[in-house]
């Protein structure tokens, strides 16, 4: 099966608000797919709907051949989906080691993966014993990504990894994500268009809770009118914060 994830016309409500009004996404195995769009367009909600954190009321989500919409979030995650939320939501009152340990699904996951994780993010080895709230913003982001790598995940949902990072850290993060894509599939939400365009193979543009455009990244890069129409605010240089 070529597609690891198929999202078919999902509608998600948060309270009374109809946030997603028909989002359809297909993620090919072993590639990076990026969700683009303005702030508040529904990109984060799409990731959360896939995970069941904001369960879609209509539509289907098929992961690895199984229909997963309507399952508990923890059940969905346990099928092999890792989540890196926006705003570096690490557990600040836990140590770095515990932040990684808590993501274990089987005993010994962390021991098996630690070498790989430390090779991607060498800083974490030094910080291993520190409490999470002693970490800088960039280190917290690394930890948030590393946490999603502890268990064996077939798909990683990564929400704005470059947000608020210094340019040199963005470079490091991009390199890490590129290395990750060799072994896992990644669905990325990224405002930083330059980063997104260098990493992703396919793209989806979400606007007002609907997927309105999709295709391969190379195609999008040639279509300047499309970029300006929907991503005007998103086209910024790496590291520059709006």
């Amino acid at each position: 099966m070529e597609n690891i994830l198929e999202v078919e016309d999902i509608h998600t409500f948060i309270g009374q608000f109809h946030i997603l009004e028909g989002v359809s996404i297909t993620v090919q195995r072993d590639s990076i797919t990026v969700l683009l769009g303005r702030n508040g367009a529904g990109k984060t909600t799409t990731l959360k709907s896939i995970l069941g954190l904001t369960p879609p009321r209509q539509g289907k989500v098929i992961f690895d051949g199984q229909e997963i919409n309507g399952r508990h979030s923890y059940d969905i995650a346990n099928l092999g989906i890792g989540y890196v939320p926006e705003h570096r939501a690490i557990f600040r009152n836990l140590s770095v080691a515990e932040n990684l340990r808590i993501a274990e699904r089987k005993k010994g996951d962390l021991e098996r993966k630690s070498e790989f994780i430390f090779q991607l993010f060498p800083d974490l080895k030094r910080l291993f014993k520190l409490p999470g709230n002693h970490l800088s913003g960039g280190q917290q982001q690394m930890l948030a990504v590393a946490r999603a790598l502890v268990a064996d995940n077939k798909l990683l949902l990564i929400d704005e990894p470059s947000e608020g990072l210094a340019p040199v850290l963005i470079e490091q993060m991009m390199e890490a994500i590129r290395q990750l894509s060799a072994t896992t599939t990644i669905l990325l939400v990224e405002q930083n268009f330059i980063m997104a365009s260098q990493l992703a193979k396919n793209y989806y543009i979400i606007d007002d809770g609907k997927t309105i455009h999709s295709g391969s990244m190379t195609g999008l890069l040639q279509d300047e009118t499309l970029i300006h129409r929907y991503l005007g605010t998103a086209v910024i240089a790496p590291g520059e914060k709006k």
């Binding site: 995970l51 954190l53 369960p55 009321r57 309507g70 399952r71 508990h72 979030s73 923890y74 059940d75 995650a77 346990n78 989540y83 939320p85 939501a89 557990f91 600040r92 009152n93 836990l94 515990e98 340990r101 808590i102 993501a103 699904r105 946490r147 268990a151």
Partner: protein
């Protein structure tokens, strides 16, 4: 310890508070003389242990689920009653256990029938009417099941046993199995009828999680087996328990009360709180309502009279033991410790409080469950996204809280009057403890309980020696709270929001 040291150097305000208390404490030592100082401190530790057992659950439940659990004091009160009943005469407990288990078994079928019931074609009008009809039917079946079951006479058996001092004569069931067996059967049925309402017939928009059905089956079957067992042992069990040695019976009562409390916590969390996680305010109201209902129920079952549980033999031998070691052999009611005479049972309460503190600290600090609880206090959603069943952890936390409060209740039963309103005072003090320590902080609850317990004891001493009104002891805790909040609005160990 190192953590605490770094914490204190980083938080001047906390250091200031602790320092000030230390000064007051030392001043007390030199002004009061050693004997009264030691006695007052031990009294403070005793009461502080009880506060801790109520407050620990309160703070954990608030930190993890954002629910201010007003029923925590009621759990303490129920624990005292349950323990007293179990120790004095468990006929009542064994008499109603199969019925409670049967009703719970019926209710758990909601998860099993939901996938079917939700697709029933029910018109909007009937969707409004059906719950009332079904509840009425369930109530009717419930009344039929309990027809002729004199629960009020049954609940008084332990009281009679207290006065006649012959519990064995009272420890017999009111009716035989041949006329009893249909009561649990009917209650299972009543539970199932009510379960249809829980499954929300015709509401096909509700999210049905796959796997719930299987879990529902497992729980229902377990509860069914439990019901059968409890129905069968109903007649023999009370006598067996009463023939046991008093000390063993007491420890069995401690364990049984904790487990029943935890079980009650699970029932409350699953049936009342779980459907309301999207409406946090309603949850608080539900716990408040539950506190009132359970208090009235206690009043109905055991009359608004205060009882005292008899101390188990190992704390009741007349005379004074010279040392703690000597007490182990003699079981005297008082012990000479640090040069003062102190009731041995109260030392046991301090031991119990410290033991629970150590067990909980180790669990929270070093186990995987503790790690999940600490993470969940900060970000529930992310914990769930890691593949952890947070709802189940909620239930476990609620069970720990309720069980601990119930344990505190039975611990208090031999030296605090057991009456329906006893939980209210403890709930209020536990709230003060939690506010001082910082909402959601476990170490805060421990420190807060220590502070408030000591404040209570020293306040009492002050009132007694200067002939002041005892209100000064009650006021002292509130004054400490006000002072702490002025210096640190989030509490000593609270997170700044």
């Amino acid at each position: 310890m190192i953590k605490l040291a770094t914490y204190l150097t980083k938080n001047r305000a906390a250091l200031f508070v602790v320092g000030l208390l230390l000064v007051v404490f030392l001043a007390g030592y030199f002004l009061m003389g050693q004997a009264s100082f030691v006695r007052t401190t031990l009294s403070g530790l005793t009461i502080g242990s009880l506060y801790f057992m109520v407050a620990a659950g309160l703070t954990l439940i608030f930190g993890m689920m954002d629910v201010l659990n007003f029923a925590q004091g009621t759990m303490f009160m129920l624990g005292a009653y349950l323990g007293w009943q179990f120790y004095t005469n468990p006929t009542f407990l064994f008499g109603i256990a199969p019925l409670v288990s049967a009703a719970a078994c019926g209710l758990t079928t909601a998860a099993v029938i939901r996938p079917i019931v939700m697709h029933w074609k029910v018109s909007e009008q009937w969707q409004k009417r059906l719950p009332y009809i079904l509840y009425a039917a369930a109530a009717l079946i419930g009344v039929l099941a309990l027809l002729g079951f004199d629960v009020l006479a049954l609940s008084k058996t332990a009281m009679v046993a207290t006065t006649t001092a012959d519990p064995l004569a009272e420890a017999k069931p009111q009716e035989l199995l041949s006329t009893f067996w249909w009561r649990p059967v009917l209650l299972i049925l009543a539970g199932m009828v009510a379960a249809v309402v829980y499954a929300r017939p015709g509401d096909f928009t509700q999210t049905v999680h796959r796997g719930d059905e299987k879990r529902g089956w497992i729980i229902a079957v377990i509860l069914l087996a439990l019901t059968v067992i409890l129905t069968l042992v109903r007649e023999a069990a009370p006598v067996t328990v009463l023939l046991m040695d008093g000390n063993w019976r007491f420890f069995l009562a401690l364990i049984a009360t904790t487990l029943i409390g935890a079980g009650l916590g699970a029932v409350v969390e699953i049936s009342l709180l779980r459907p309301l996680y999207i409406r946090p305010l309603y949850q608080v109201l539900v716990t408040l309502g539950l506190a009132y209902v359970l208090r009235e129920l206690a009043m109905l079952l055991w009359n608004p009279v205060a009882y005292q549980m008899v101390r188990p033999p190992m704390f009741a031998q007349p005379g004074e033991a010279d040392t703690l070691w000597a007490w182990f052999a003699t079981g005297n009611s008082t012990v000479n410790i640090f040069g003062v005479t102190f009731p041995s049972y109260r030392l046991f309460i301090i031991f119990l409080g410290v033991l629970m503190l150590v067990i909980l600290s180790l669990t929270i600090g070093y186990s995987r469950l503790g790690m999940i609880i600490r993470a969940g206090v900060q970000d529930r959603e992310m914990v769930e996204a890691l593949g952890i069943n947070v709802r189940r952890v909620f239930t476990i936390v609620f069970m720990i809280g309720a069980g601990l409060a119930a344990l505190g209740g039975i611990g208090a039963a031999p030296f605090i009057p057991v009456e329906p309103g006893m939980g209210d005072v403890f709930l209020l003090q536990a709230f003060i403890v939690v506010v001082i320590g910082g909402m959601g902080s476990f170490s805060g609850a421990a420190i807060g309980a220590l502070l408030i317990g000591l404040a209570r004891a020293f306040g009492d001493y002050l009132a007694l020696s200067f002939n002041l009104t005892p209100a000064i002891a009650e006021a002292s805790t509130v004054i400490i709270m006000a002072f702490v909040l002025l210096v640190r609005p989030a509490g000593l160990f609270g997170r700044k929001e």
